[in-house]
Amino acid sequence: MTLAMPAPEPEILARRDELIERLRAILPTQNLIMDETARRAYECDAFTMYRALPLVVALPETVAQVSAVLALAAEMNVKIVPRGSGTSLSGGSMPLEDGILLGMSKFNRILEIDYENRCARVQPGVQNLAISKAVESRGFYYAPDPSSQIACSIGGNVAENAGGVHCLKYGLTTNNILGLEVVLMGGEIIRLGGKHLDSEAYDLLGLMTGSEGLLGVVTEVTVRILQKPAVARGLLVGFSSVEAGARFVGAVIARGIIPGGMEMMDKATIHAVERFQPCGYPLDAEAIVIVELDGAQAEVDHLVGLVETIARDEGATTTKVSKSEAERLQFWAGRKNAFPAVSCIKPDYLCMDGTIPRARLPEVLAGMDEIAKREGLQVANVFHAGDGNLHPLILYDASIEGEMERAEKVGFDILRLCVAVGGVLTGEHGVGVEKRDLMGEMFNETDLDQQLRVKCAFDSLNRLNPGKVFPTLHRCAEFGMMHVSGGKTPFPDLPRF
């Protein structure tokens, strides 16, 4: 447990009763969770290594209530943490002991589906997959497909700029969002974008997407919906080395082909998956690549032939092409079960999330192995090969003294390696609490100061989701972003860590 959170502010803790009293004036009692047992349900998100009991949980149902809660938090100088379904893997919605947890789960309605304009207006608590389900009868879907799509909320997807298997071809959340309604820390309600393309003036829509809940609370999202491709076919290609698999991925792209998905798994994962739920992966392969080609029938057939040829040229040891929808789904079944499957090797794992330039894949995989071995641990790899987004799973056993800390150290060293080869700390899970203290690996102090100044433009008192993303908690006044009267900043006790 190496990540420090800002120490709870005693003066906020002391005003809990007053805060609750004033929240009662905004929300019905059943929308406030105050007793400790019930609050426990909210003490962490999917980054379960770190936990904190929120001061109080507020579950608003209307935009006016969100606005009033934020305005109250600003007025009382209380921290506030927005939360969707709590599936963040980086602790983005981890609560604070001296903060309100603002649960958006009651914002769960699809407000409008507009097929003619190829978009839907939804509330932030709607699940990602529910959007696709709502429009599938007309042949449409929502493209970004994070692995957690059955559970995660679209508001959380906006906060994290979520990705998924389809991203290489269809883009991330940021490329599939048209509009947002946002409540700012002072309670002001703004609308960005709409059903038209491109947000006007400064692209605050793009800035909000991936801002990890530090800039505002999303209360409505307009998403693009796409017509499903006419057909999709899968290829399962095995290689005798990770290098050969990586060369194959590069060769497909160099040939001008952008598959709908291109995923790679290493030997450890292949074997774990086959033990967990056999789906016909070749056990003799050092790596497999699943390629999905989608589009018009004639185009897909043409491209499948090309990719098969490339696979042969790159020395594939096995190549299977799906002959039915069932077979295509079977290729994916192992990939989709990879995370639970590795739990059969060790009871716990840490899922890292770095992106690298694809050409550096073989050396990064070798480097990761070396880092893990140094700590006596093992790494299993499953990743989005097309875009270089890696998800090394660091296997450990939390019941063994010190193993979790060693796993954490391995994770940090792996992310440092990603940055060292020209990559980044996170491709889709967000910085959150998990990678906060590594931000200095990618950015120097001036870079980070500029990002913090942007934060100050939205939230000058740093009350919205503090302790996430940035390794130090600055006062906006230090950046000349706050009015300082008589040499005194407001709230001089603002913590630093």
């Binding site: 793009g206 590069g250 004639a298 050409a359 989005h384």
Partner: protein, 405 residues
């Protein structure tokens, strides 16, 4: 100091830091100029001092297999496009060239300028805008600080996505020194299907039907009868189909089968003519030859016609127009007026949601009329705070976007 114009050619970021720090001390603003193709774009607020990026050129990284390219901001777009073309790749967002509309040498624009105005073409609806292809950048902020953001990889959520902010900020936040872009393979071939002989509403409805089909149309425009560059005797709904040869022809047939119930007639433009047509629509050549004031309206696809009808009903003197983005982008040329018809146009756009930008008008009018869509007070205040987070003294491009900064 030279009362006319002082232009500083920067060689690197350090030169820009020196210039902007000095400007902060003296409180004197700078305009940023690359090739100058967009100097008549935006509010007219002439500044005495210019920073020129014309010496800041060169592609610094290009890895075709990684789909990534970095270039210094003054690099001519033409050079980048030629380099990509030699590897069968492209900037999929098709940055428009403003020269046909605003004067100056065509194909002279720089990559920094294209990013600064978020220039995007007809493929926007499928492939995204410039903002969707900017992976990372280096800049010098209005404070005179060197800052970088983003990276060179396709998936990156490390820190705030400042790339989105600088894209379309018209140089008001920072001077870009280097940009890193996602590039994509060029399609093997393209064709354009012309759906002819329908009235305007029907033509636009066909675009929307096609955009809701699985046939992966990459651009959707509607050109009224007689409009350049085709000069046809009937309205034309235009659908661009790109991909491998076999796929393009089967998708064209599928579209004809789907849209054939309307009594329309169909024609097909082969690759070269199709390419030329979309380049012309990208650069707004249907309006360029007309004298008059030019507006760009971005609305929901179903609202394009409604807005235009509203303007017709209000008696707006429309000289020429066409639709792109399946009806959601309306390019309009009107008889000149002292207020550039801003009130009428913005009332019509506000009724449905969207924004209108005055693209071509005299300097005098662009100094008096809001060029960019006015914002509600909380959004305007936030916008100003964001500007000041990069450039507290309003040094960069003062007045270019808003009178307030």
């Amino acid at each position: 100091m030279d009362a006319l114009l002082a232009t500083l050619d920067i060689r690197d970021a350090a030169d820009a830091v020196d210039a902007l720090r000095a400007a902060n001390t003296r409180k004197t603003p700078f305009a940023i100029v690359g090739a100058g193709s967009k100097k008549r774009l935006g509010r007219h607020a002439p500044l005495q001092q210019h920073i020129s990026t014309r010496a800041l050129t060169g592609v610094t990284l290009y890895e075709p297999e990684e789909l990534v390219l970095s270039a210094r901001s003054g690099t001519p777009l033409r050079e980048i496009e030629e380099l990509l073309d030699a590897h069968n790749q492209q900037l999929a967002f098709e940055p428009m060239d403003y020269a046909p509309l605003l004067g100056g040498a065509t194909r002279s624009a720089t990559i920094g300028g294209a990013i600064a105005v978020n220039a995007s073409g007809p493929r926007r609806i499928k492939a995204g805008a410039a903002r969707d292809h900017l992976l990372g950048f280096h800049c010098v902020t209005g404070r005179g600080e060197v800052v970088k953001s983003g990276g060179r990889v396709m998936k990156n959520v490390t820190g705030y996505d400042l790339s989105k902010l600088v894209c379309g900020s018209y140089g008001t936040l920072a001077l870009l020194t280097e940009v890193t872009l996602k590039v994509l393979p060029k399609a093997e071939t393209e064709q354009t299907l012309l759906v002819l002989g329908l009235d305007e509403a029907q033509s636009l409805a066909q675009l929307r039907r096609a955009s809701g089909s699985p046939h992966e149309v990459s651009s959707f425009a509607m050109l009224p009868a007689g409009a350049a560059p085709l000069g046809l005797d009937a309205n034309a709904a235009l659908l661009r189909i790109e991909g491998p040869e076999i796929s393009v022809s089967t998708r064209r047939e599928a579209l004809i089968a789907q849209l054939g119930d309307t009594g329309a007639r169909f024609e097909t433009l082969p690759q070269n003519e199709s390419g030329a047509l979309w380049a012309a629509l990208r650069d707004v050549t249907p309006l360029a030859a007309h004298s008059g004031q030019i507006w760009r309206l971005s609305v929901a696809p179903t609202d394009g016609l409604a807005v235009l009808d509203e303007l017709r009903n209000a008696g707006a003197p429309i000289i020429a127009y066409y639709y792109d983005w399946a009806g959601g982008l309306v390019w309009l040329c009107l008889e000149p007026a002292g207020d550039a018809h801003a009130g009428t146009i913005r009332t019509a756009v506000d009724a449905c949601g969207g924004h209108a930008t005055l693209i071509r008008a005299s300097d005098d009018i662009r100094a008096r009329v809001d060029v960019f869509h006015p914002q509600p007070a909380p959004l305007a205040a936030l916008t100003k705070r964001v500007k000041e987070s990069f450039d507290p003294a309003h040094i960069l491009e003062r007045g270019r976007m808003r009178e307030a900064f």
